[in-house]
């Protein structure tokens, strides 16, 4: 079985960040492997260790700078990586999932995987729609928010548990080929070993642009436009204590005493 894992490099923001227009100022931004994708990678690697997956390919949409993140996925055990980038994307923000999906679809058509593992959502834009959108786009079956996957795939069926709200889980069977969106907690993502990190440097990381993937540039136009970005206005009248820990801890313990928690 061939497994394709989508790997997104997300941006993370530091405390005290500032917003300029509809962007966060560069100096407060760093990047990281999307938390949910880390679990998707681990699930794929475990499938390979158990002899169920023959090959794990990762796909990332992003500029050259995100290769460090891609190497992380390779170091954890993926066999090779595809990175898609095109100048057209330079000024497009990928809020419209149909664009992401169109690009990923071209890669799926190239690679023809049996199973596509994606994260439930990206930690930066929290959209949570790309996996199911892509599944429908490529004619695969799907399940969203999977927190358990049986590793047997009898008769070409994936047996999963979907995590619903309030501690309820749903048992579902999905015919392959399928897209599963992976929830945190499904496994324990490993740290890359030193050997893994060394090997990752030699693994295939293939870059493709829209010409390689026969994607029509004209179809890449976002129907969603981001017009404002701001810090949420706080309606709260929270009492904030700051400064010396000795003092703040005392203020809190006085409050707890008042409330009868501390005798």
């Amino acid at each position: 079985m061939k497994v394709l894992v989508t790997v997104k490099e997300v941006t993370t923001i530091e405390d005290g960040f500032e917003i300029e227009g509809t962007k966060i100022s560069e100096k407060y931004l760093s990047t990281d492997l999307n938390e949910w994708d880390d679990y998707a990678i681990e699930e794929a690697v475990q499938l390979q260790e158990e002899g169920i997956a023959d090959e794990i390919v990762t796909v990332t949409i992003g500029p050259e700078e995100c290769e460090e993140t891609i190497r992380k996925a390779l170091a954890k055990g993926a066999n090779r990586a595809v990175r898609v980038w095109d100048d057209t994307l330079e000024d497009t923000d990928l809020l419209d999932v149909s664009i992401t999906s169109e690009i990923l679809r071209a890669v799926v058509e190239d690679e023809d995987p049996d199973l596509v593992l994606m994260g439930v959502q990206a930690a930066d834009d929290n959209f949570g729609a790309t996996g199911v959108f892509l599944a429908k786009d490529i004619g695969y079956n799907w399940a969203a928010v999977v927190n358990h996957l049986e590793h047997d795939f009898e008769d070409g069926v994936a047996t999963v548990r979907r995590e619903l709200e309030s501690g309820v889980e749903e048992y579902t069977d999905i015919e392959l080929p399928a897209v599963l969106t992976i929830q945190t907690g499904i496994n324990e993502p490993r740290y890359a070993s030193l050997r893994g990190i060394r090997q990752a440097q030699r693994k295939d990381l293939n870059c493709k642009d829209f010409v390689d993937l026969s994607i029509n540039k004209d179809s890449i136009e976002s129907r969603l436009s981001l017009t404002e970005m701001y810090e949420p206005e706080s309606e709260s009248d929270v009492v904030i204590w700051e400064g010396d820990a000795e003092k703040t801890a005392f203020q809190l313990s006085e409050l707890l005493r008042e409330k009868g928690v501390v005798g």
Binding site: A129, F133, W142, E169, R223, S225, T227, M229, I240, K259
Partner: protein
Amino acid sequence: MTDILAIMDHRRGELRNVSYELITVGCQLANETDGKLHLAVINGAKEFAEKLNREGIDTIYTVDYGQEFNHDVYTQAIVQLYDTLAPKYILTPNSVNGLDYAPAVANQLELPIVTDTIDLATDGETLIVTREMYGGKIETTIELEGMAVVTIRGAKWPMEENPGDAAIKPFDVEIDEGALGTMVNGFKEISGGDVDISEADVLVSVGRGIEQEENIDLIHELADALDATVSASRPIVDNGWLPKSRQVGQSGKIVTPDIYIAIGISGAVQHVAGMKGSDTIIAINTDPNAPIMDIADYAIRGDLFEVIPKLIELSK
């Protein structure tokens, strides 16, 4: 005119509250342009349509096909309703099931989708959407023209309560059974675990700010000193540092203690869903902009590793 089709949320024989919020939102959008609000109850119990008959709804369509939730049935039914009703916006809940069909509907109808919205407005042409990013640290406005699929965040809007007199009509769908690629085989409920955190009067709740498993001892020590119970945000449970029964939030437990102390927890919406009903919320966090500050009554802006040991000392 802006007609709206709102898809009701229910699970295992129970209507979910977000359905009534969808009515509020749908009604507002329809009113803004003199449009109509239609509801669809797909595979629901007979009495759902009556229960949902609230003010401002034009027609409630009921679709009967199968028992359990099936995203392909939902997708096909919504596409057929769309073809008949030609609504401008399809509203769905941003629930786990909503996110299992809404993107597929958008794909099939070639419509844009915007998820987890917390405010919406329209002039009939442009839809102006408010949604968060970065786990609630940032809010954004997004504009889109034309038709769209929109999922709304639950527990964010008022629930429409006034009774209405909408027509209730069955809607016949043709489901392509060959295209049903998934089957639900049952459910499991996470069992109680060692303690029931929803019974506790005082909860000391720990999040990713604690950094390492061995540091959890510090939280246990504080809980002992305060005669409180330890709970946690999701990452702590995902890491296996505390059992699932200790998780507060959307996919964990809903708690309403007298005092909830959130230590190194940012306050993501899925966490807040489980604890915002607490009487007094106290946050200890280094980040003054953490979303938890918005719902806290008291907060220490500071390093938990400095504050907690002092607090333990003072509480003994």
